[in-house]
Structures are given as structure tokens and as C-alpha cells.
């Protein structure tokens, strides 16, 4: 797919968005081995500049022709753009890594979290790799070592998701609402269906003919695809909290064989991508969004055996939804692709 001799040209599509900017930051921070990085977005943003490393990049329009000569295209431009431009980029020889939901459930597109199922990158028939949903990524990174040891059967998960998962406009609206609250004014909402600041919201569309939201159904289907087992049951309640960045998840997991808290901790201690918080639980001593913002790891804490079902495990999992939940995971996929060629 990505030839060994060619120069490495990386395109970031949707470079003005909150995840696109984070992709550029991540490429620079990790000294991604690109000979050239180009920033693409819609015509509206053409000519503006976005930060990259010590300098800036000028935005070019994301046309099909813009992908000529591109080695890897990191898409974070929404599902419609990914459906239209992803195949155009792939047809021109680019390996597409798409952060939207457009290609995730396509059987011909691997859905990859490198720590969990990097082997799926061996077969990319459409030239498109899908980056999973933010809330799914951090959950499967934490569950993978436990699944390998004991066979995951059922996950019940409640999320505490940050505003930045909904993009730049959502983040700006939360900030404006927070300022309004601080000034004792009534916050207004247009990106969110209601006030998020000082409140708790479920702002995702409901799936068709179901009581579950689209966000919840993503966690169900993507977890099964990434772990390669359609018999795993996933029961999510997805909730938005007034946090800028950093998703938290309260996870209950049942396994095919009983798993104790000590064994779970020893499995998580050296698991790739995981940072385990150990020591006695004390007030405030647990993974929290403020501490995880801008970091790469999936933080796991409060590992404990269930009180009602011995052998089942609770975890508290926090990660930066823009980094491991989006930009970093996409860049890590790109790193694997380059390493494999």
C-alpha cells in the first residue's frame, strides 16, 4: 500500500478542526518521519494558516486532486467528507486513516487501535483504515489485557464525556456557557441541545428503532469489531459532562473465567498504552480529566472486584479524547503502516 521508496507526504484533512489541529500537534511532537505535511480543509478555510511545530501551514482546499502524491491522509473532516474524499485519496495511492464513523463498520476497512489489533493492518483492501470512536478506544485499550487473560463476556459502562469530543464549536459553547454561569447570566445553547455548563447532558442522536443513542451503539459494535468477537455484550450509557477535554468511564466487566482485582492489576501494570494508578484509593487519588489532558496514556484506576459477582471487575478509565481518543491513535496507526512497509 505505502511503497518503501517514495517520499512520505502526510495530509491532514480537516486541519482547522479541534482534532485536525491535534493531529498536526501530534505529528510534530512525535517527530513523525514525514518529508512533507500538508493541511487540507474546506474552501471556506483556504488560505488561512494553522500551527505546525514551530511554524504554520497554509490550508489548501481538500479536492480529489489535492491527494496526488500523498502517502498517508489523516482525515478528521466528518463522515460526509470521508465518504466522498476517502476513496478519491485512496484511489490516488494514499493510505487513508479516517477519524469519522463513515468507514468503521465496513468489513473491508480495518478498525484499529494499535495496542489492541495492529494485525488488522495487514489487510486494507480499500486503502482506508478507520479510527474508532473516542469512547471506544480508551475502553478497549484498558480491557484488552483482561480479555486476553480471561475472555470478556459483558461490559456495562457509563461515560463522562468531554465537550471537545463534539468539536471546536461545542468547546467554544461550553466556554461561553461557563462565562455566563460565572456572571450569573442565563447560558444559551445552540450546538448542544441544552446548557452543558453546570449540567449533565445526553446530546447524541438516538439510533433507529432503538432506545440506545448512536454513541452508545458505536461502543457496542466497534468494541466487538476491534476485539474480534461478536458475542461480547456491551451495555453503555453515554453522558456528556461539563469538562473541556478528557473522557472518563466507569466500567464493569464480566469474563468467561473469574478475574480477581490483584490479577487484573498485574495484567494492567505492563499493558501497552495503559498507565495504572495504584496505591490505596484516597480522595482525589484517581485518574481525572484535568491530569490526563495533553497526555498519551489511557489512565486506569480504582481496579476492584465486584461486590455482587465475584470474579467481575470494575475499572475507572480516563484518557485525553483528542489524543488517544482521536489524533494520537490515528498517528499511531500511520506509524505502524510506515514501519510495516
Amino acid at each position: 500500500m505505502v511503497g518503501p521508496m517514495s517520499k512520505v507526504v502526510v495530509a491532514v484533512v480537516g486541519a482547522t478542526g479541534v482534532v485536525g489541529r491535534e493531529m498536526l500537534r501530534t505529528l510534530a511532537q512525535r517527530r513523525f518521519p514525514a518529508d512533507r505535511v500538508i493541511a487540507l480543509a474546506s474552501a471556506r478555510s483556504a488560505g488561512t494558516r494553522v500551527p505546525f511545530g514551530d511554524g504554520t501551514l497554509e490550508i489548501a482546499v481538500a479536492t480529489p486532486e489535492a491527494f496526488e502524491g500523498v502517502t498517508i491522509a489523516l482525515f478528521s473532516a466528518g463522515a460526509a467528507a470521508a465518504r466522498e474524499l476517502g476513496p478519491e485519496a485512496a484511489q490516488r495511492g494514499a493510505l487513508v486513516i479516517d477519524n469519522s464513523s463513515a468507514w468503521r463498520m465496513d468489513p473491508d476497512c480495518p478498525l484499529v487501535v494499535p495496542e489492541v489489533n495492529a494485525e488488522a493492518l495487514a489487510n486494507v483492501p480499500k486503502g482506508i483504515v478507520a479510527n474508532p470512536n473516542c469512547s471506544t478506544i480508551q475502553m478497549v485499550v484498558a480491557l484488552k489485557p483482561l480479555h486476553d487473560a480471561a475472555g470478556l463476556r459483558h461490559v456495562i459502562v457509563s461515560t463522562y464525556q468531554a465537550a471537545s469530543g463534539k468539536g471546536q464549536a461545542a468547546l467554544a459553547e461550553l466556554d461561553a456557557q461557563t462565562r455566563a454561569l460565572a456572571a450569573f447570566e442565563k447560558p444559551s445553547a445552540s450546538v448542544f441541545p441544552a446548557t452543558l455548563a453546570g449540567n449533565v447532558l445526553m446530546d447524541w442522536k438516538v439510533g433507529q428503532n432503538t432506545d440506545w443513542s448512536e454513541e452508545e451503539l458505536k461502543m457496542v459494535h466497534e468494541t466487538r469489531k476491534i476485539l474480534g468477537d461478536q458475542t461480547i455484550a456491551v451495555s453503555p450509557t453515554t453522558v456528556r459532562v461539563p469538562v473541556r477535554t478528557g473522557h472518563s468511564e466507569a466500567i464493569f466487566a464480566r469474563f468467561a473465567r473469574p478475574l480477581g482485582a490483584e490479577e487484573a492489576r498485574s495484567l494492567l501494570r505492563n499493558a501497552p498504552g495503559v498507565k495504572l494508578l495504584e496505591g490505596p484509593y484516597a480522595p482525589g487519588h484517581h485518574p481525572q480529566p484535568f491530569d490526563c489532558e495533553g497526555t498519551d496514556d489511557v489512565f486506569v484506576g480504582r481496579v476492584r472486584e465486584d461486590l455482587g459477582e465475584p470474579g467481575s471487575i470494575h475499572l475507572w478509565v480516563v484518557a485525553d479524547n483528542l489524543r488517544k481518543g482521536a489524533a494520537l491513535n490515528a498517528v499511531q496507526i500511520a506509524e505502524r503502516v510506515l514501519a510495516n512497509r
Copy 2:
């Protein structure tokens, strides 16, 4: 206990606190049949005034002698004060209704949510009735009709708890942190172990020799006592979110016999104290703290059957933690006590 002939004198102990003030507001709003209401607090607050109805009450010092002639004493003054002054008040003939954790697990003190186990008020050997923890009250109100129909076996619950559950100082600190965030300044924390504004925290002490917090263990033991069944398993993860007032809970419940979502909804539709949000789930169409602040009901929404365990049910439950979670429940207990005499 409370004689039929005497004049009704109600004392609110801890009247300057966030729950004490709410108790006074609730007594006035519900036109509680008191001949006299007196406001007590520590010596520090003596002589200051607190709002009551259209006027104010002067704070008197909560000494043992202050309870002479008191019919019902509503305590919200913390566990230490309740342990010391509760028996003094009871000895002087007052029926004590205590909002702290001091007496909740005492086998001689009924732990009461009137919609759930009002019958426990028939036997109050110490003259002390305990008001349950806020996060427990709203959960058992929602689960009671389902338990009666199908036999509750296991609850897995993740909470989204408001700052006011920790009292007036915590609320003030969240407000100050919110103003700091809005001004791009670094928030400081002293009541909370870390910043709550823009973050998610677990700020409760850990229980002894356990991985569970004291708040989580309260939900375990109080739920069993209120529902009168020590074999019910409760697995909580308690979490504080940057919300002023209104606790939310994502609840998974398994029963002795399978329960469908339609049956659960029909059981909840007319359940006492419950307000069921029906209709199709849409973004923002669910119980949320902003809508529940200052209301009396326990709001239940997103009733759905589990995807992994048919016959198990998910609920999203929100209530005002100062009202039904504390002051209102205490006043409702007092109303039952008066009605029974």
C-alpha cells in the same frame, strides 16, 4: 412518640447549612402544620437570621436544653452533632429525624424513604429516624416498584453527583473555581481534594480495608436496609461532577425474574414520587440536573432493556439532592409521623 394533643414545635438543627436552609424552605412551601418552627445551630451562628417563609428566624444555640418542648427535630448538622445531640433531643420527647450518617445503620433506628418503607416508622425505639444518603434515596424510589414486581438482585450504578451534596463550602468553592476557569485563571481547591470545575472527581474517603469509598458503601448498606433484603447486591461507582445541585445516576438492575422495558415503564408510570420521562429519546430529552433543581420528584428516563442480559433494565435517574435527597425526604418523614399520631 409524638402525642396527639400537644402543640407541634419543629426544630431545624444546622439551620445555616445548605440542607438546613432547604429544610426551612421546604417546611414553608409545604405549609407544614407546625405551631412553631425554631432554627438551631452552633454557637458561632447564634443571633444571625435565616430565611423562613416571608420572614426570618433568629438562630438559637443547639444545646440539649433547646429541645425542651420540641415535637420534631430535623437534624442536618453532621454526624458528630447528631451523635451527641440526637439522644438529648429524643430524651426530651422530640422525634429526631437525622440527615447525617450517624444513626443510619443502627438496628434500632429506622432508615426511611416514605414512598418505599414508611411502615418502618411504626417502631422507633430510640426516638431517632435516619434520613438516608442522597444518592441512595433517589435510587430506591426508582427501583422500589421494579423490586416489588420482579425482585431486585443486583444493581450496578454510576453516579454524577452535585457539589451541594458536600455542603455550603463546597458549593462556594465550585462557584469560585468556575469564575477562575471563566477568567482563564488557575482554580484553587481546599474543600475538594482537587479542582472540580471543568473536571470529574472522587472526593470521598475510602472505607477501611476496602477498595470502595464510604459513599459507595453507604449505597450498598442503605439500599439493603431500606428495601429490607440483605441479599441484594449493590455495586456503585460514585463520582462528583461540576454541577451545583442535582444528582444523576446511570443504573443497571437485574431481577429475580426477567423484566422488559415496557413493563418497567408501566410500573414506573404511577409509582409514588417518580416522574417518568417517556416518548422517544432525543438529544437533550432526558432528566437533567438543570431541570430538576428545586423540584420534588425523582425523574426517571431512558428506561431500556439491557443488550447483553435480556430481562435486566437500565434507568437514568435524576433528583434534587437537597430536596428529595435530603430536606424534602426528612420533611416527608415528619409529615408521616404527624399523620400517624
